[in-house]
């Protein structure tokens, strides 16, 4: 007997004729998965089949226009995908669990009806000529760190982008840095991006889209105590005067340790980036990698992706053959290790001892710990979807998708929670932040939504 909610989903999607097939799939998944689940350190939840998730999304879509862009009656079922993880488990001695078999819930189902009252709302446009693009949240959960940008640069050419702190409680924005030139038009506009913080510092990078797609960057640090700002680094230049490719200068900071990447100048038909570390109190700079990118810092651990050189005497790897692995450096004791599971991850995220990544094909979100005692696939992209930009904390993991919906993995409930439509979601130490439609009747506007994840039941 199917639960009534699932029956409604089947009915809404006219999938009743596929029920036997879906049930067969559920059984197959359970059979194949049980060995993995039994040996994994994470417990399995109640069974369902991931394709149901795609159908359930129809009923959760709160955007009328979005709903109208879809077919109410798919001409073919999406179930029993050839891409089902049950058919391609990764052989490993490490306990490996597959996609969770718990049905998705919405926020109220997962955390109670009162959860919606805990969501805080910040206007995404504090005024008609400016919009906020949230980059991160301070570690204490009090401030959004965002870039403030002209909403119509072609008609507001004198407006400048800036870095702002937005008090989550009051919505008050405080500017902490501003780019030197007016926004101008499109690709020549200098933008502020990748704003991150620790107790004492807020760092950000700024660059125009061109030249070289944010290659002409400069990295700044704002002292939260004395409110001074200083330039930390800027892109190296080639002999031809153009900035070196290989980095957009994105940085992260924790415990007074700042990490970023710099492109190497004057390389011919190639690019690579140096991974650098600055100890803010002493000013000492250390180069950690000659070919690393995407550094993620969660004290005391620093993780990055590094292109692995083949052993001496090995043939030069062809296109796509080079191995890129995740390096983890403990900044307290200096130990360095390679994670064995992620190979050429497209995106990575680190929080305390937890490590999440998006697979190379952008179809899976995976989770492990830094000791790699387990590996767990927590989401598989269905149909034409793909994933990017994971982030996590003790309670939640989130990631971006292509179908403009916000979902999180609840590490306590071991299931995916559907938050709602839209995107730009991120999880910080204490908060889930996303952009979604306002609740005002008839409104088509978006807003920034914030949920304190430490208060989740």
């Amino acid at each position: 007997m199917l639960p009534s909610a699932l029956r409604n989903i089947f009915r809404a999607a006219h999938l009743s004729k596929w029920i036997p097939l879906l049930l067969l799939c559920v059984v197959s998944l359970l059979v194949v998965s049980c060995d993995f689940l039994a040996s994994g350190s994470d417990s399995a939840a109640a069974p369902t089949n991931t394709p149901i998730r795609g159908r359930a999304d129809l009923s959760h879509d709160a955007t009328p226009l979005a709903a109208r862009s879809r077919q109410a009656q798919p001409s073919a079922p999406t179930a029993v995908s050839a891409k089902s993880p049950a058919q391609s488990p990764v052989p490993s001695a490490v306990p490996t669990s597959l996609v969770p078999l718990a049905a998705n819930l919405d926020m109220a189902q997962a955390w109670g009806a009162a959860i919606h009252r805990q969501v805080q709302h910040i206007p995404i446009q504090p005024n008609p000529t400016t919009f906020l693009l949230v980059q991160s949240v301070t570690q204490d959960g009090r401030f959004l760190l965002a870039s403030a940008n002209p909403s119509d640069p072609q008609n507001s050419a004198n407006q400048q982008s800036s870095a702002v702190m937005v008090d989550i409680a009051s919505g008050q924005a405080t500017e902490i840095g501003r780019v030197p030139n007016p926004a101008g038009a499109t690709t020549s506009a200098i933008q502020v991006y990748e704003i991150h913080s620790d107790q004492d510092w807020i760092v950000w990078t700024q660059a125009p889209q061109e030249p070289g797609f944010f290659s002409d960057w400069a990295l700044y640090a704002y002292n939260r105590t004395d409110h001074s700002t200083k330039e930390i680094a800027r892109a190296a230049k080639n002999k031809n005067g153009l900035p070196a490719l290989g980095s957009n200068g994105s940085a992260q900071i924790d415990h007074g340790t700042l990490v970023w990447t710099e492109g190497v100048p004057d390389l011919i038909n190639s690019q690579r980036s140096l991974l650098k570390l600055l100890d803010m109190p002493t000013g000492q700079v250390t180069t950690l990698s000659a070919n690393g990118w995407s550094p993620k810092l969660s004290w005391p651990n620093l993780a990055w992706i590094e292109l692995q050189s083949p052993p001496d005497g090995s043939p030069t790897p062809g296109p796509g053959e080079a191995k890129a692995q995740v390096v983890v450096l403990n900044l307290e004791n200096g130990t360095r290790k390679l994670l064995t599971r992620p190979n050429k991850p497209s995106y990575i995220a680190l929080y305390k001892d937890s490590f999440a990544w998006i697979s190379n094909d952008s179809k899976r979100v995976l989770l492990t710990d830094l000791a790699e005692t387990f590996e767990r696939t927590i989401a598989v992209a269905q149909g034409g979807d793909s994933f990017q930009d994971p982030s996590l904390n003790d309670r939640l993991i989130t990631w971006g998708d292509q179908l403009s919906k916000v979902e999180v993995w609840d590490r306590k409930q071991n299931r995916i929670i559907t938050i709602g439509p839209k995107g730009h979601q991120l999880v910080s130490a204490r908060n889930l932040v996303w952009v979604g439609p306002t609740n005002a009747p008839g409104s088509t506007s978006d807003e920034i939504k914030i949920l304190d994840t430490t208060q989740l039941p």
Partner: protein, 337 residues
Amino acid sequence: MDKKQKLADMYVQVGQGDVSMATYNAALDNFYASDLNKEFHHPDRGITTDECAAIAAANLRYLNDGTCYDVTEESATGSVPTNNIYSPTNGSPLSVTPRYRQRILWQVPQMAQNNGWYCAPAAAAEVLRFWQVAYHQPASSYFGDSFSQSSLAAQCQSGQPGCWNTRGKYLMTDANGIGGTDWRWREFPWNPYSYMMEYGLNKWRQGAEHGDYAPIGLPQEDITFSRLQSFGDKWITDIDAAFPMVADVAENRTNRGVTSLSLPKHPTTRTIWHWFAIRGYSTPGWYDNYWYVHYVESVYGSSINNTRGYALTQGNNKVELLRLHTMFEVDGFGYVW
């Protein structure tokens, strides 16, 4: 461009059964009278071996009706359907009825953009290569310029044929230094709103600013269903008529309260302005219950991929219809069809 809109309107009527495909094909023949291989525009023509050969051999598969497809983009059913003919169902946001469940103009090639600001020259080159291959048009331009992204982007030398001004004859990208290609160019006193992709593609192919390609600049107003529908109808009409499009988008912006998201595997922490060629569609049921716009991504293989928020891999690119449409409207950009 009224003539082309009439074609789109007529194709809607074909789907409704009010106009026969033969009548529509005759209208296409009339519109594309100068094309050497104009029958290639007919939606009901069979797929050619040359088209199938454009799919990587390792990925080439066939449906039971002989339609070729890329196995990495196969239907989410996981089984081979008997044919690729679209079955009209209720709830479509479009007026037009696609002929196929999935249609991709595989002969629109992926080309890496030569540098960080050449996405528009790369997109135009991808489209023009298709015209060369599918319609046997010469590689060189109407004015004799050799085929390259640089030619499409270049400024004019004084006295060159086709130089109606000193800034450039096609996309005028280089006139902006490293700033990329404008959606609209405001400096022509006789035409303050020239659309650069229209200008470039038509002058390259037909020697005149206005021709087969026409711009649709979307107003910076509230996003409406009618404009989404209008794009969808033009998109399906063009792809079924083997006519690739070009789009200009603004990612990760908010205007009038509406936020645009990003193209797949593009950075999400900053605004990106980007041009790309549209070459296909997938209808609900192919992958899932969404409409997908298939495009080619010039960032892949270029110097700007990886290490700075991009994580593009080789393969077919696609974006959900509404997601893309929001990127047009948030900054008043649009598409050339």
